[in-house]
């Protein structure tokens, strides 16, 4: 079978790109969630300046396109600050993390705000400090509400890692493009396999999202 031979040829080449895809993804996830929590809390700050600056960050990153941000970080930012040449890894990770961090900060903010008023009052009545109230009462309840959406964003971030091939990172799609340009007839098999690679990487996240959805519903009285 020609097609099986082709797959046997293509598979090991694409496999070389998995490492970069996974590295970019993990770094983006860690930084993205970090940004989400920092920006989410900053938007709830009592300080007007912190709130305004955070709003500006969130609106700029949600209002412009990820691919534009990626190119801007990679091509424009080094010129603006007179750096030699940007790192494509960090340009990719920062673009993805700052972009999705901005989206997810809204989830953090709205989840914290939607914890019932009585919980705030009760913790104040128990003489808790502002910090204790957040750490022990509000935050644990808010995190649950964030879980289902956070799961969806894992898959969105995985999909967006494919963009880093455009700035020369050797991820799965990059090797797919190389194979396609050397043998155009193989393009359907190559890109189909690339899609399968991404789907296999997405499967644990799809499963995790379902788990997170279940966890967020568990033990909560439905109102």
């Amino acid at each position: 079978m020609i097609i099986i031979d082709a797959i046997a040829d293509i598979f090991p080449v694409l496999l070389k790109g998995v490492e970069i895809t996974v590295k970019v993804l993990l770094a983006s996830i860690v930084l993205g969630y970090l940004m989400a929590f920092i920006a989410g809390f900053c938007k709830l700050s009592r300080n007007v300046i912190i709130r305004k600056v955070t709003s500006f960050y969130v609106e700029v990153f949600r209002g412009t396109s990820l691919i534009v941000q990626l190119f801007w970080f990679y091509y424009a930012l080094p010129i603006l600050f007179g750096w030699e040449i940007g790192s494509s890894f960090w340009a990719g990770v920062f673009a993805i993390a700052l972009n999705y961090g901005a989206y997810m900060s809204e989830i953090v903010r709205t989840s914290i705000l939607s914890v019932a008023e009585g919980q705030y009052e009760a913790s104040t009545a128990l003489n808790m400090s502002r910090f204790q109230r957040m750490r022990l009462i509000i935050f644990p309840q808010a995190v649950r509400m964030m879980l289902p959406e956070f799961g969806n964003y894992l898959i969105l971030m995985l999909k967006s890692t494919s963009l880093v091939s455009l700035i020369g990172m050797t991820d799965i799609l990059y090797y797919g493009d190389i194979l396609r340009s050397s043998n155009l007839d193989q393009a359907p098999t190559v890109y189909f396999l690339v899609l399968v690679f991404y789907f296999i990487l997405a499967l644990p996240f799809i499963w995790l999202t379902k788990k997170m959805e279940a966890a967020s519903k568990k033990g909560v009285a439905s109102s």
Partner: protein, 237 residues
């Protein structure tokens, strides 16, 4: 010192601006075409979810999950580079059509979910009432279910229009000459990427931020209406 903001050139900015602006019309046109495609194909996925026969429904839902969980960029490449090589059905497509099919189908899997949530949001009593009144299948959908299912989804659908606008520059990778491709071309010709890419970012921000505010307003309006319904419902009980 060569660093700092001294590298910013207003002359380049004003030189590049009209050239990039030329791509805005076609970028918006592509956004609308992709969005329309997503809206139409979305109905298909909603229908698939309601199919009674599991042997047909489950494989189709598997395909939907596959499209949804894999990168739209790879799907674009598949349609543009690989589709012409597919035996029998394959044909060469121009970048515009490829993007409409690729992005349209990718986002249709999300739009289908929006429709579904709208239909599921119609209270069971409405279905029962329609049945009790002996409405035909068609009348039940057109007179009772859809008029109640569609309005709450409008803000969500509006959000997806904005998301689509921000996804369309992906098509620059297959040679679609929208604002991003024109900016990249300008950058390559003059070896100045800073100003053209900043212009593209500004154009996106200027168009999508007011749209987002509008969608927020719509959302509040519909939520208010839903609250009112909730009040009348509880009074009726």
């Amino acid at each position: 010192m060569s660093g700092g903001l001294s590298n910013w050139s207003w002359q380049t900015f004003f030189d590049a601006f009209p050239l990039i602006l030329e791509g805005l019309g076609i970028t918006i046109l592509l956004t609308l075409a992709c969005y329309l495609c997503a809206l139409i194909v979305g109905f298909f996925w909603t229908a698939v979810k309601r199919l009674p026969i599991a042997a047909i429904r489950l494989p189709l839902l598997g395909i939907m999950e596959f499209i949804r969980s894999t990168p739209p960029l790879v799907q674009l490449f598949f349609i543009y580079y690989a589709w012409p090589m597919v035996p029998v059905v394959g044909m060469a497509l121009d970048p515009f059509t490829s993007a409409v099919i690729g992005l349209g189908i990718h986002y249709s899997t999300y739009i289908g979910e929006v429709y579904r949530s709208g239909i599921d949001g119609v209270p069971a009593g409405q279905w029962e009432a329609a049945t009790a009144l002996n409405y035909s299948r068609r009348k039940k959908w057109t007179k009772i279910i859809l008029p109640q299912a569609i309005p709450p989804t409008i803000p969500m659908l509006g959000n997806y229009l904005i998301i689509m606008f921000k996804e369309v520059p992906l098509a620059s990778t297959i040679g679609f000459l929208g604002i991003l491709a024109l900016a990249n071309d300008y950058g390559a010709q003059h070896w100045r990427y800073l100003e053209p890419l900043t212009i593209v970012a500004i154009l996106f921000l200027v168009l999508s931020y007011p749209s987002a505010l509008l969608v927020n307003k719509l959302e509040k309006k519909f939520n208010r209406r839903l609250d009112k319904n909730a009040v009348t419902e509880s009074k009726a009980n």
